[in-house]
C-alpha cells in the first residue's frame, strides 16, 4: 500500500486511480486474511449482553452446545474475561457435510466492568446455551440513601 500525499488542488485523474488501487489492495489483504483459516475454525466472538442494576453487573454470553467445564472465567482487576473452546462432535459414522455454518474452536471476550465488584461473590450458570455471570457490586459501589435528619 502506498501513501499518497493529500493535495486538494491536484484534480489529476491518475491520482484518483492511484487512490482506488490502494483501496483495492486494502480489501484484497482483508479477504486473504479471512480465507486463510479453515472453514468453521476462524476466530469467532459469541454475542454478549451486559446489564447493570443497583446490586450487580450481569453478563450473558450466547454459546450453544458447550460443556460447562469448557468455559474459563477470570476477573483481573476490573476486566472480566470469558474464554472457552467449542469442539465439534463427530463420530466415526460421520460422513459428508452438507452445511457448515457453526463455529468451532477457541473464543475469548473481555469487558471492563463499569463499577467495582466483589470478586469473592461472582457466580456463573450455564443454561439452555446461555452462560450467565453475575458479579455482585462491592459495598462501596452500591448506591446509598443518606438520611438527612432535621433538627
Amino acid at each position: 500500500m502506498k501513501l499518497i500525499r493529500y493535495n486538494p488542488v491536484a484534480k489529476d485523474l491518475w491520482t484518483t486511480f492511484d487512490r482506488l488501487n490502494s483501496l483495492r489492495d486494502l480489501f484484497d489483504s482483508a479477504l486473504a486474511l479471512a480465507a486463510s483459516a479453515p472453514l468453521g475454525y476462524r476466530e469467532w466472538f459469541p454475542a454478549m449482553d451486559v446489564r447493570e442494576d443497583d446490586h450487580a453487573v450481569t453478563v450473558e454470553l450466547e454459546v450453544a452446545g458447550m460443556k460447562k467445564e469448557d468455559f474459563d472465567i477470570s476477573l483481573e482487576r476490573d476486566v472480566l474475561t470469558i474464554s472457552g473452546e467449542r469442539k465439534a462432535e463427530r463420530s466415526e459414522n460421520t460422513g459428508e457435510s452438507f452445511r457448515n455454518e457453526r463455529f468451532f474452536g477457541k473464543f475469548s471476550r473481555s469487558i471492563t466492568l463499569p463499577t467495582a465488584v466483589d470478586a469473592t461473590k461472582v457466580t456463573a450458570t450455564y443454561n439452555d446455551g446461555i452462560l450467565t455471570v453475575t458479579l455482585p457490586k462491592a459495598e462501596e459501589a452500591k448506591p446509598k440513601k443518606i438520611e438527612v435528619g432535621v433538627s
Binding site: 454475542a47 454478549m48 451486559v50 454459546v63 450453544a64 452446545g65 463427530r90 460422513g95 452438507f98 446461555i130
Partner: protein, 122 residues
C-alpha cells in the same frame, strides 16, 4: 401437536421477525444429523413440524424480565426459524430430536426402501 402449531404460526396476520439459526448438516451412517443452534431456547420452546416435505424448525426464546441498565446488547431477542426441504427418501416417521444446552440435534433416517443394500450372489 404439529397441526395446531402450524396453523398458529402460519396463520399469523402480522409478520414476525425471526433470527436464522446456524446449522450444520452431515451424513451419519445411513441417515443425516442436523444440528441447529438455538441458544436461549429450552425443550418446551422448540416447535418441530414436518409438513409437505418441509421440516420447519421454530425456537421460542424464554422471555425473562431483565431489569437494570443495558450496557451492551448483542444478543437478538427474536425467536428462531428455519425451514428445510427434506429429501423424499427420508422417512418422516423416523425424525427424532434432542436439545441440549441450546443445541438442537435432529436425526433423519432414510426409508428402508432407499437404504443401500448389499446383494449377495448365490
Amino acid at each position: 401437536m404439529s397441526k395446531e402449531i402450524t396453523q398458529q404460526t402460519t396463520g399469523q396476520a402480522r409478520p414476525i421477525e425471526y433470527t436464522t439459526p446456524a446449522v450444520d448438516i452431515h451424513q451419519d451412517g445411513d441417515g443425516y444429523v442436523v444440528e441447529v443452534e438455538l441458544p436461549g431456547v429450552s425443550k418446551s420452546g422448540v416447535d418441530l413440524t414436518f409438513e409437505d416435505g418441509k421440516l420447519i424448525i421454530i425456537g421460542h426464546r424464554e422471555q425473562k424480565e431483565k431489569g437494570g441498565r443495558v450496557l451492551l446488547q448483542e444478543i437478538r431477542p427474536a425467536d428462531y426459524r428455519r425451514v428445510f426441504d427434506l429429501d423424499p427418501t427420508i422417512d418422516p416417521s423416523s425424525i427424532q430430536a434432542t436439545i441440549e444446552q441450546g443445541l438442537l440435534r435432529i436425526r433423519l433416517q432414510k426409508a428402508e426402501a432407499h437404504k443401500p443394500r448389499k446383494i449377495s450372489i448365490n
